[in-house]
Every structure is written in C-alpha cells, then in structure tokens.
Amino acid sequence: MFKKMIAVLSALFLSASAALSVDYSGKTVTIWVPFKAGGGTDAVARALTGPLSANLPGNPSVVVKNVTEGGGIGSVNTYVAKHGKDKDGLVVLATSGSTQLPFLFKDKRVRYDYKKFVAVHGAGTGGVVYVRSDLGIKDIIKDFDKLKGKKLLYGSQGISSLDAVPALAFDMLGLPVKIVYGMKGRKGGRAAIMRGETTIDYQTSSSYKKHIKPLVDKGEMVPLMTWGVQKGNKIVRDPNFPNLPCFTEVYEKVTGKKPGGEEFQAWSAMFAAGFTTQKFLVLPKGTKNSVIKTWQKAAEGIVADKAAMKVLNKKLGTYPHYIGNKDLKVALKNASTMKGSTYKYLSNWLASKK
C-alpha cells in the first residue's frame, strides 16, 4: 500500500513538474499553415490563435505563418525539414485534407511521414450532396431510378483531391455521373451548378448552410444525402442534417447490400482523411512529452471555451473535436493508413478516372 502511494505520488509529482517545466511566457508560438491566407485552414488557425494564447502556459503570443512555397505538399516537406527535430513545440503545423490525401495516395512529392506526427488537436466536417431542382428528384432513395436516367454532370477540382470522395461514392451507387475537371475549388463547382452547367454537386456542411440552403428554400436546389459521420465503426446520419439519409444508408437501400469490400474500405479511408478528421494541429514526433501534454491540455481548454468553439463551428459545422492523447492517436492513424490491397484498388480506380 505504502509503495503504491509513493508510486502514485511520485507520478503525480513528475507529471506536475513536467507540466510546470513548459513555460512559453515571453515567447512566440507559430502555427505553420501550408496554405494561403484567407483559406479554410488559415481561418481555423487564426481562430485558434487567441484561445491558444490564453490556454498555453505563460500566454505566449501565437502567430500564423502562411508558408506556400511548393504548395500544400512542399510546405509540409519544408516544415519537416526545418522543424522535424524540434522538441519545444514552438512551431505547430496545421494540416488539412489536402495534406492527408496526397499521403494516402502516395504522391511522389510527399517527403513527410504522417505517422511521425503527434496530433494535439483534431477537427472534422461533413458534406451534403444536392442536385438542381429541375431534375425533378425529391428523394434519392425513392427516385433513384429516375435519377439514374438523368443527365448527371459534376464539376470537380481534380480526381486526386477531396473530390475523389464523391466520385467514388457515385461509382459505388452506380450513378452515371460525368465528371468535368478543372473547377477552381468547391467554389467553382458551386458556381457551375448555379449556372446550370452541372446538375449534381456537394459542398461541405458550413458552405452548404451558407450558400445552398437559401437556394433550397427558394426551390432551386434539392438536397439528397450527406456523407454522414463516423460513430465507432459505423457511419451514421449527420446530426447537423438529421432529415437527410447518409451515404451508407442510401447505398444499402438502393443496392440491397451492406457497404463492404475494397471499394468501401478505400472510400472510408478517404472519408476519414478528408472529412472525419480533416484538420489537425500536429507536432513532430520527437517533441518532449511534457510539451505534447501541455499542448493537448491547451486544446482541451479551447474545446471547453464556448466563444472559441462558436467561431470554429461556424467554419466547420458542429462536429466532434478530437482531444486527449488516446483519441487523437486513433484519429491520426485512421486518417493516414490504408491497407496495401486497398491502396492497390484505389490507385487503379484513380488511374481509371484520369
């Protein structure tokens, strides 16, 4: 008993001193954003600067640095080259789906190993698929055969991007969607469907609420389904849109099968990297444990901060935030690993789409 108490006490003491030893007072903490100022990841990172400063010990000033040399991939390569061996957690990297998907796709330009990052905060989002109302579709499940017979055009920013998620989903459902590339971001896809040049599109939850919902209310667009959210091992209805079926639900109803096999595993991996945990704050693996703990604790503080969360939820929609070492580890693994056979399936599929 005595021994146990000593062990507990010393553990407590150790962890307390470890937490105490990290002090950022008078220092500047940098959030390395591998994208342009004003973009989605940048906005989230900037929204985090104030709360991070308030929650990190010593209240350091927190600044955002947009490093765009070499684009999203090149910038993360540079981060690893410059700060990959840092231990003090003074430069944290903000990642997004565009950092994670090229890693999953084994893009030759990627020089970073995603598994060698330690996540300190993670956040996700969702997406809604919708069509123009002049297709005359009201409900994707009831009107599925009618939908199949329509001229379906989707404006995509390129197959090796987040747009791989809808493209594979349409294939799995057997929807004959013609994919037209070269759109400038999801914004471009939205503009094309508003002009009537495309007929089917998806937007992330926050963008859907802001820009498409008003059109749905006017009767110009009709929502069909969401991508859903990950709950344990299952994908369930998105709580932000409880009246819309999720993709897996639609799949089951129209094909009569449960989703499975290589194609569904590939889709799930991309969905995890592109939606469930789309944005991470990560530190290099060699970072001191005490520093990682400090950062993870600061992230917990932010999630408990209502004002900060309001801004973040506006940007991403109301989705779970990942905090705590255990959850973060699992989340990072899900967003960055894929079985060999799944990868093979995916790369063949990607090649067939080019």
């Binding site: 342009k36 100022a37 004003g38 973009g39 940048d42 906005a43 900037r46 929204a47 600067t49 104030g50 600044v63 955002v64 640095k65 947009n66 490093v67 765009t68 040399e69 070499g70 684009g71 991939i73 090149g74 390569n77 030759k108 330009r109 020089r111 055009l153 404006g155 390129g158 197959i159 090796s160 991007s161 013609k178 037209v180 590339y181 070269g182 400038k184 914004k187 471009g188 939205r190 503009a191 094309a192 508003m194 002009r195 009537g196 040049e197 495309t198 963008s207 802001k210 820009h211 008003p214 059109l215 801004v311 506006k314 940007k315 080019k354």
Partner: protein, 667 residues
Amino acid sequence: MLDALLSAFITIVSGPSILFLIAGVVIGLVVGVIPGFGGTVGLSLLLPFVFGMEPISGIAMMMGLLSVVATSDTFPAVLIGVPGSVSAQATVMDGFPLAKKGQAARALSAAFFSSLFGGLFGAVLLTMIIQIAKPIILAFGTGEMLMLAVFGITIVGTLTGASISKGLIAACLGLIIGSIGISPGSSEYRLDFSNFLEVQNSIVMYLGNGIHLMVVAISIFALPEIVELLRSNKAISEKAKLEPSGWLKGFKDFISNKWLVLRCSFLGSFIGLIPGIGGSCIDWISYSHAKTSVKNNEEFGKGDIRGVIGPESSSNSKEGGALIPTLLFAIPGSGGTAVLMGGLILLGVEPGIQLINNRLDLVYTIIWSLAIANIFGALVCVYLAKPISSLTTINFTILAPFLISLILFAIYNSSRSWGDLIFAMLIGLIAVYMKRFEYSRVALMIGFVLSDGIETNLYQTIQFYTIEELFLRPIFLVLIAICVLSILSGLKIIDKAKKLSQSTKAIEYTRNPQLYFAIIMSFIGVYTIWATKDLAFLGKVFPQSVGITMLVCSLSLIYQIHFAKSGSIVLHDSEANMVNKEGVQPFWMPIFWFLLPLLVAIFIGFYIAIGLFVFWFLKRIAQVKTSLCFISLISIWILLAIISHFMVMDFAPGILQTYIELPWPIN
C-alpha cells in the same frame, strides 16, 4: 434602400471606423508604391490585425487598403517603369515614356483622377446592381468565359509590333509559361523538368505550383527597362527640369478624355463582375480599347496620355465589379477580393446571398468604404505626385541599387522560394532579348494570364455544350463578333506599324543573334511538345497545340530572318542604334549587376548580400562618396528590416544560414 445607404455612411464617418479606414488607406498607399507588392499581399498582412476587430472597423480598414492599392501602384509604374502591383501592368506602356519626356507629374495626375473616377464608378455600379446582378453573372457560362479569354488573346494583335510571327511567338511563350504546373484537366504536373530531374528536386517542386504572376510581370517589364537605363547612365527624365503644374495638365487630360474614362471604367467593372477570367487581363483589354478607339494612335507606347487614362480607369473600377460575385455568391472575382473574403469571414461576416438579404447595412458599409477610400487615396496621391516625380531627375545609377534590392526582395517573397528568383532572372533575360529584337512582351504577359482560363474553359465548354447549343446562346454570339472585330482592328494596326517601320528603315546591325534567338524559341516549342508527351490526353492537348503553333511560327521566322533583305521588318535590333553612342555600357554588363547580389546571396544570404551590393554599386559604379555609401547601406538594411517585420516576409537564406543559426534579420 436610401435609408440603409445613409445610415451606413453615418456609421462609417461618425465612429472610430473612419480612423481605421484612413489607416487602411495609408498602408495601401505604401504597399502599392513598393514595387511588387499588391493588394493581395497587403490584405494578407492585415488579416492578423483584423481578426478580433469590430466588424465595421475591420471592413473599413480592409476596404481602405484594397481600394487605394490600384491608385498608388501607378507611382513606380510611371516613374521607374516597374508595375507597383499587377493592376498597373498596362500603365507602364505609356506612363513610363511620359516620365522620360519629363511629364511624370502630368501622367501621374491624369492616372489618379482616372483611377478615382473608376473607383467611384465601381462603387456606384455595385450599389445599383448588387441586388439584381445574379442573373447577369449566371448568364456567363464556360462558353462565354472562353470567348472572353479568346477576346483577351485577340487584343495581342492590336498591341504587338510589325511582325505577326514575333507577336504570336511571344503569345505562345506566355501560354506555355502559364501552363507550367498542375493541369486543370487531368491534375498532372506539367513542364516541371521532372523528365530529367527527381520529383523531389526543389526546382520540380517549385514549378509544380506554376510560376507566380508577379514574378512574370516584374521580370518581363522591370528587368529590361532597368538594364537599359543602367546602360545609358542618365536620369530617367531626359529633361533636367520637370514641367511646372504637371498635375493641372493631367487633370485637363482627364477632363478632355471623359468618354474614354467612362468607357474603360465600364469595361473594368463589367469584366470584373465575371468571376473566372481574372482581373489581370482587364488592364490590357482597356489599353487595347483606348488604342483602337481613339484617333491618331501612332504615339501609343511612346507616351500617349490616353494610354495611361484608359487602363487606370479600369484597374480601379474592376474592384467594384469583382466585389459583386464575392459578396453575392462568395465567389471572388480577383486575387484581392479572394483575400478580402477570407478577412470578412474572420470578422464573422459571411459573404453570400444571406448577407445581401439580411445585412444590407454591412454591404453598404463596404461600398461606402470603397468610395471614401478612393477619394482620400487619390487626393493624397495627387498631392504627392509633384514631389515624388522629381525622383526622375536623379541620375538613375544612384537609384538603381535600391530599386534592384526592392525588386529582388519582392520577387523572392512571391512564394518565398529561390525558385522565384531563378525563374525571374531566366524570364527576365529572355525579356531583355525580346525587347532588343522587338518581340512583344505584352503578348507574352497576356498569354500568361489567359493560359489557364482558355485551357480550362475550352475543355469544360466541350463537355457541357454541343455546338448547336452554343450557337443558341446570344452572349456567346456577341462575344464572337467582338473577337472578330478585335482581330480585324489588330490587322489594321499591324499594317500601319509595317508602313511606319518601313519608312523609318531599321539599320541592320547583325543578323545572327536574331537568328539564334528565334532558334531558341523553336527549341522551347519542341521541348513543350516533347516534355508533355507522356501525359493523359487532357493534360497534353493544350500545351502541345501551343507548342506546335510556336514551332511553326518560329520556323517561319527563322526562314524570314535568314532570307530577308536588309531593312525588312522582321529584322530589328535595338543594339543597332546603340553601337556608336559613347559612354554606353556593354550589353551584358547591367544584366551581370542584376545577377551579382543573387550570386553573393547564394553564399551569405540575401540580407547581408544586398547591403554589400548597395555599397559596392554606389562606390564603384555610381562613384558616390564613401560616407554616403555607408549611409545607404545602413538605410537599405533598415528599410528591408522594417518591411520584412511588418509584412511578415523573409529574406532568401544562403549556404551560410544552413550551417549556422543566425539571429533575425540575417537568418
């Protein structure tokens, strides 16, 4: 509506917002004046301050900045021939020649009044049509956007010189440079030298993202001008004394060209309204319009004030136009509005239909900020026009090292990469020879900015429409007619230029360098065709077609040069007029001066190198007193440190910095 308009005005002018607006205007003026930094850079540097501000003040500050950059960027364009930001590209064409004639103040003041009018025009248009603009914007599908881009290419004819082949080669070169990077159709990396280098090589990584617009703009316009000025070792203005009351003359020019101002303002707002074509081409379209629509246009390109008034009216009016899709659909119409949108989101103001429906007061705040900032900015600029234009009477050799420092610093910060500097020098070198042999650099620029628009829209149009469908779209047909008219007027102008150049009869210098340059151009065509051969069809069809056109044109040019009679229009070498002049530096010398600080920077980093360069240049080349050289060295270091600190910019590191940790700013 009037109530909302009025109350928005009162909110701005009565509270602290007006102070933030003025702060924005002041920063915008500075950002515009420094060559190479435009509204996009300026706004990005404001974002951290804006975040957490009260929305109205934040909006006032951002709009203050955005609306004056297109006004103040005229200073460097006119005075030193370097566009302060992309929206002053076309102003250089006639503004700089005017400065050489000692009429800098006149050009500046005409530009500022035109810019002021354009800005207000944009604000009024924005007020009137924001609520009804939706169908207008949506009527422009990919087919129409394609024709707008094609129209942009057809104006090359009206701006290029006497030889059609040379103009086409330049345009093709621009299209090829523009297609470097990820292909829009197949998401493949193109022309990034991955055919012979590792994909993780830093040059391949750099090219994978395409070459930055500002890198191309500075290197093709600024480099050749500076090189030429350095050779002649004189002040920019050929007259020692500037003409008095230049600003009044500029105002009179503005008044007497009021219809041109109005037409170009309309053009700017209208094209700005259509997202997708991008603001970069507007200046050239209105320059071309000014040139073709006025009488006696022979002086265009040599210092015609109308060549300044046209693009300046549109470069500022386009912001109003570009704001419409930004606020209405959250789809920005220009680079500046894209960052503005990011800033608005940070302020908690979400652009989109809901904003127009529910928060019209905020929309009017934006419009009023635009208008007030324009008036304020233009007044300050007019006031400064005369004192600042006296810079043109200083011997250029003294200005040069400072200018070279700023330009190199700006180029590096386009994407904070050595690649920016390397490719700026490479393109700059080509541009120097293009100027010497009379290839149109404007054609290159237009090709570059339209490359992506043409390729993407062409590809999408084919998939979205059948030919019959396209020819049922009235706007598409109107645009085709405009393109045809533009080609016809281009041919007319080329014809005129031919006659003109035949009457002046160029002296033949030597034929071989011209031949070699044409051969290099044909190699670029061949390289483009070869390097893209393994890509998917959608990735290679565009660059290969351009490459083939380039090859055909340059082969025909090689044939023409080889067999041309002495005095033919295809032969042109500005060196011919230089050989017999005294005190002129050899051709390659100033190019070497440009490269020198970079070569040193490879070893010791840009910050240290540039200071030493300024010192050395002033001492050896300009032969300034040692004490002044020291002061200059210190001041360039302080100036760069200040800019770098406030704009969160970096200096290119050298080998030294990779081995030793050094404190800011020499890290």
